[in-house]
């Protein structure tokens, strides 16, 4: 039986919760650019450092590109590293995101997901992280404030594992989670090192043992390096199992790669990322009482993509609706939709799949919206198909 530590129930905003987890993780280096689209996360961390509550170097960079570059150097030197950004800030980091993963520099970055320009918008959607989808990072998504805290702690342990050595992003919906106060159970400080021992980086820069980092690789070796990156990501699911079991021992909370509600025995499932899961679940509970056989699922881990779990979960349902808060312009639909289509196709599951593109630039996804989507999913299961492939939800034409 899991041993659950004495918990303290408190109230925090999502960004405060992330900062608190980072403090408890006892990071060595925080590098960040402090202006919009920044959140309170790094503001709190700078206070923790200034007040002597966190013994770390807080480095204020002149741009996000520099912030992430500092993080790569510090990580390779063996430091435990954290940064945070969103939206245009993440876009500006893009070049170095690739370097961080392929130089195998573990670090944790919180992304308070926000839309990209243009038009100018500061509100939630997932365009920022989807733009970073193929950078070789591990991408985790929180559905509430508690998960933002928990996943931040788990991200350090996962990324720093010797079998993995990769950067991890913890995504929390901008404003919807980053600026929401919710109840939070935090681990007592003394329990954290038990779950998350100090970073032990096997290739830390050491002047007494000179080595080359970020070397050039010509066509005869480049592909081998890139394959290693892919193979490291493929090891993540099994390491995640260990990390989540270990986290459950200290917290009592269990995290699978895909979380779900009432999927077993349902005719239709709606799949989403982030805080929308809670709204869908809230409404699905009521609709199931009315006899509608719908379930809801959400990916805690988006990269590496939990193909096997999803293939099993969706293998017996009659229809799926995939919710995307981002779009692949000129492509087939939203990124989660095409991932799930591919998963179903190559696992021999032939069922109708509808893509609902919603909530771009922070447009609210209401209880009424959730009800309509869940009913559409059930209808698709009943009729054996959907009238359209992709719906831009609630858009005026």
């Amino acid at each position: 039986m899991a041993r659950v530590a004495q918990v303290r129930k408190t109230a925090m905003m999502g960004d405060e919760a992330v900062a608190y987890a980072v403090k408890q993780a006892d990071v060595d280096v925080v590098a960040a650019y402090p202006i919009t689209p920044q959140t309170i996360i790094v503001e709190r961390l700078s206070e923790y450092v200034a007040d002597g509550e966190l013994n770390a170097s807080f480095i204020q960079a002149e741009s996000e590109h520099s912030a992430i570059s500092i993080c790569v150097g510090a990580s390779l030197a063996g430091a435990r590293v954290f940064t945070s950004t969103a939206s245009q800030g993440l876009a500006l980091m893009h070049e170095i995101l690739h370097a961080a993963s392929s130089m195998r520099a573990p670090m944790v970055m919180a992304i308070a997901n926000r839309a990209l320009n243009s038009p100018l918008n500061i509100h939630c959607d997932h365009s920022d992280v989807m733009n970073a989808r193929d950078t070789g990072w591990i991408h985790l998504f929180a559905t509430d404030v508690q998960e933002a805290y928990d996943l931040t702690l788990m991200a350090f342990r996962l990324g720093e594992d010797r079998r993995i050595l990769l950067p991890v992003s913890v995504n929390l919906d901008g404003f919807i989670l980053s600026h929401s106060v919710e109840p939070l159970e935090v681990l007592p400080d003394h329990e954290v090192p038990e779950f998350l021992p100090p970073k032990d980086y096997p290739y830390a820069i050491d002047p007494s043992r000179p080595a080359t980092y970020g070397a050039m690789a010509l066509p005869d070796t480049y592909m081998e390096f890139r394959l290693q990156l892919h193979e490291a990501l493929q090891k993540v699911p099994s390491v995640w199992g260990e990390v989540s079991r270990s986290f459950e021992e200290v917290s009592g909370r269990r995290y699978s790669m895909v979380k779900s509600f009432a999927v077993d025995g349902s005719d239709a499932v709606v799949v989403a990322l982030g805080s929308t899961y809670g709204t869908l679940k809230h409404v699905a509970r009521r609709l199931r009482d009315e006899g509608l056989r719908v379930g809801v699922a959400s990916l805690t881990m988006y990269r590496p993509f939990p193909e096997d779990v999803l293939a099993r979960m969706l293998g017996d349902v009659k229809a799926v609706v995939v919710m995307d808060r981002a779009y692949s312009y000129g492509g087939l639909g939203g990124p989660l939709y095409t991932d799930i289509l591919s998963t179903l196709y190559r696992n021999g599951v032939e069922i109708p799949v509808l893509n609902v593109v919603y909530g771009l630039g922070g447009r609210d996804f209401t209880v009424r919206d959730a009800e309509e989507v869940l009913r559409m999913a059930a209808e698709g299961a009943e009729r054996g198909g959907f009238p359209e492939k992709v719906v831009w939800w609630g858009v005026r034409r």
Binding site: K9, T10, A11, M13, I122, H123, D144, D173, F175, I176, L177, H179, S180, V181, E182, P183, S275, T276, G278, T279, K281, H282, D364, F365, T366, V367, A370
Partner: protein, 185 residues
């Protein structure tokens, strides 16, 4: 689940008021959620914020469209409360920062079938501290009128957020406003 919608102007602490209400409820062992609605962040522009309080875990992450309670913390907005009651449930409550006689609001109470509670947070804050502080007195009025959270929990929430003179001022405003709430039966 009780849903509260706060109205006010940028700079008046609408978001902090809602934030403190959620913290107070959580300190009392309830489930609560505070969620601000950010528009263009300009001083003086209309601002909304939402609070949910429940005995069950709150899974919703969306705006409040049919509030049980509407709080208007800006006195110029509260002069015309008709503009802020959209979606307010019948049997719900309207809590206003209002200088006039509460009896003048009986037509709204009747039309909407809601209870109306007022406190003159404008006068109280000018008298007590010489400047306009609306959010904490209105939080006091909301707590008194609704019974959603106890005064002690609100004080604890204030202590978790403020210290020194700011705390002392807010505690004074809280007590004073709590005593002066008037309700239209």
């Amino acid at each position: 689940m009780i849903e509260v919608r706060w109205h006010g102007r940028g700079g008046q602490g609408v978001v902090t008021g809602s934030n403190l209400l959620a913290r107070a409820a959580i300190l009392e062992g309830k489930y609560a959620q505070h969620f601000p609605e950010f528009g263009p962040e300009r001083s003086g522009a209309p601002v909304r914020s939402y609070t949910r309080i429940s005995n069950q875990p709150i899974e919703l992450h969306t705006g409040v469209y049919n509030p049980d309670i509407v709080v208007v913390i800006d006195p110029t907005m509260a002069r015309n409360p008709e503009g802020f009651v959209q979606g307010l449930k019948r049997g719900g409550s309207l809590v206003l920062n209002y200088a006039g006689d509460v009896g003048r609001l009986s037509h709204i109470a009747g039309e909407l079938d809601v209870k109306v509670h007022v406190v003159n947070a404008h006068r109280i804050s000018l008298e007590e501290v010489g400047r306009k502080i609306y959010n904490v007195p209105m939080l006091a009025a909301l707590a008194r009128a609704s019974g959603l959270v106890g005064l002690e929990a609100v004080k604890s929430a204030l202590r978790s957020r403020f210290s020194g003179e700011a705390l002392e001022i807010n505690l004074r405003l809280l007590e004073k406003a709590y005593r002066e709430v008037e309700s239209l039966a």
